[in-house]
Symmetry: C2
Subunit: 331 residues, 2 copies
């Protein structure tokens, strides 16, 4: 079975998010813990700003939970930048044993899966995961110099400037990670880097179907099934196709990328990046769980595993989606 049931119900104790100015102008503004109004965040480069954001998100979680870095067994972290420099340069300052992970925009859920298995198995009492993205560092690396002002395709997504961090622990609170489904890499041959939602949708569909089937769940089990950043087009594809295949999620189905910006913000198909799902979950969705407005969420972050080199070489876009079931448990 692809889905793993976590019998010891590791607790998702706390989350923190930090986001940029455009994100603060969007739909999720009130849920972020902190906002950076200057994209450089007082640093000399966008890349260093991203590292600082990820480090600060981690420190905010430590602060909220009254933990010190030495209380944390280890940390799973990743980002979109080459060789994950957004993570390694920030994480250094925490002095916590570190596992670097790369799952493109699926990174936050990959981290949650690994952190929750580690806690469930007793390998660590408190394990963190972090991820980040930054519009400017991503544009520089993947697309055009910002100064060039390249025009964007309608299906393109806007890389979110944000970082999120979460703490999984063997006790604390009533919100638990109950089951996880690590995804398979799926490649249906889509090669349009301006339509990554379409490339990632098949991975999301596969992982969601598998999760429901493995656990024998009814379509209305979760209050929310939330994909990471399929964007408007990928979201529509996934919703329709899942319905066709018997998983009709109707008005329980959401996408972080489609939710984060307002229509008038000109973000085209929506947000993307490791920081999108990380900040929307750590802000809005975790807040809804904490407040008791919802009890069961399936978070399914999706990642497009391509690079500029693979795109130049004419390759398609392999994708992956990792699912994490987060539920309120009786104490």
């Amino acid at each position: 079975m692809q889905t793993i049931i976590l019998n010891n119900k590791p607790r998702l104790v706390s989350c923190a998010s930090i986001a940029g100015k455009k994100e603060n102008d969007g739909n999720m503004s009130e849920f972020f813990d902190a906002i950076i109004l200057d994209g450089r965040y007082g640093k000399k480069s966008w890349e260093e700003a991203e590292s600082e954001m990820q480090k600060d998100a981690a420190f905010m979680v430590l602060h909220k939970t009254e933990n010190k870095p030495e209380d944390i067994s280890f940390i799973f972290g990743g980002d979109l930048l080459n060789q994950c420099m957004g993570t390694s340069f920030g994480i250094t300052k925490l002095n916590i044993p570190f596992f670097g992970i790369y799952g493109a925009c699926s990174t936050f859920c990959e981290g949650l899966i690994l952190a929750s298995m580690c806690v469930d198995g007793g390998y660590g009492k408190k394990v963190m995961c972090t991820s980040s993205s930054h519009f400017c560092s991503s544009e520089r690396q993947f697309r055009f110099p910002l100064e060039y002002g390249g025009q964007r395709a309608p299906a393109a997504q806007w890389t979110v400037t944000a970082a999120g961090a979460a703490l999984v622990s063997d006790s604390g609170g009533d919100i638990s990670i109950t089951a996880v489904t690590p995804g398979k890499v799926i490649d249906l041959g889509i090669s349009d880097a301006s339509n990554m939602g379409a490339a990632m949708a098949p991975a999301a569909i596969d992982t969601i179907k598998t999760h429901f089937k493995d656990r024998g769940l009814k379509n209305n089990y979760f209050d929310m099934v939330v994909t990471g950043d399929l964007g408007k087009f990928g979201y529509s594809i996934a919703k329709e196709k899942l319905k066709e295949e018997g998983v009709d999620l109707s008005n329980r189905f959401y996408d972080c990328g489609a939710m984060i910006y307002k229509e008038e913000q000109d973000a085209h198909a929506g947000g993307s990046g490791c920081g999108c799902c990380a900040s929307v979950f750590s802000g809005y969705i975790f807040d809804m769980l904490k407040q008791g407005k919802i009890d069961r969420v399936l978070l399914v972050a999706t990642g497009a595993l391509m690079s500029t080199t693979s795109a130049y070489q004419g390759n398609s876009i392999p994708s992956v989606a990792h699912a994490v079931s987060i539920e309120r448990v009786r104490k």
Copy 2:
């Protein structure tokens, strides 16, 4: 405690390695399972060749152990290329749930740690890890076009063209992963990308010292303590400094990067890359274990977590080292 003792003693059942022509001319020739004599390996790019190597190493392990891809619970894989494209394009063809990891040249040990915790905790019966590097894809990405023929500094290392794969299982054979030490990110301010051995040595020293201290081991406990790819200079630094700090490993201390090439092969300080430790361990060291020539090995892969962007921006090189204790157990 930073070191995790694996009480259920997950077995390291099988390994496979595949390497390039220069590696075949080196010291480890007889231990590789397969050699690619053409750097393109029948593909249209070096990057695709690297993906093919990693996929083939995984298939060789499946073949040796008479497993099919569907028998494997999941796979941890990574490489040096931007967005880990060496891994994702190969792994797609396996159709196994996938966790992408990034630890630069420490990736193979990072994968072994996570795979062994997953098996030990009962989250998967059979878990694989893979990693790869390719001289040509790395030179193109990190350094100069090959055609330019840039001169190399004496402390520079040669990126190994190789891939390795390993299968960790809940049973089979008498070689077990007994304890693991995930490393902290350590940055002592070294910024010379032509001397990564010096940048990584402090991480190796920290992780090795921690492993010995956490388990209360004597300096002669292991038959071999093998770092990933410190190269000649980093190896000397680590050996001397460890001795100074009370962990005198004398003639039990080795380095995969320093061992892989012959002196006359003009590889300067030695080999490096995710494929170096992966292929030397999967070939030579695992063979020594299987044959009963040695019983206890501490494998400590080291990674330099920098990118070309971080180097251009004048940053130092944060490093990490992950340790895996592999021992023969009574059946």
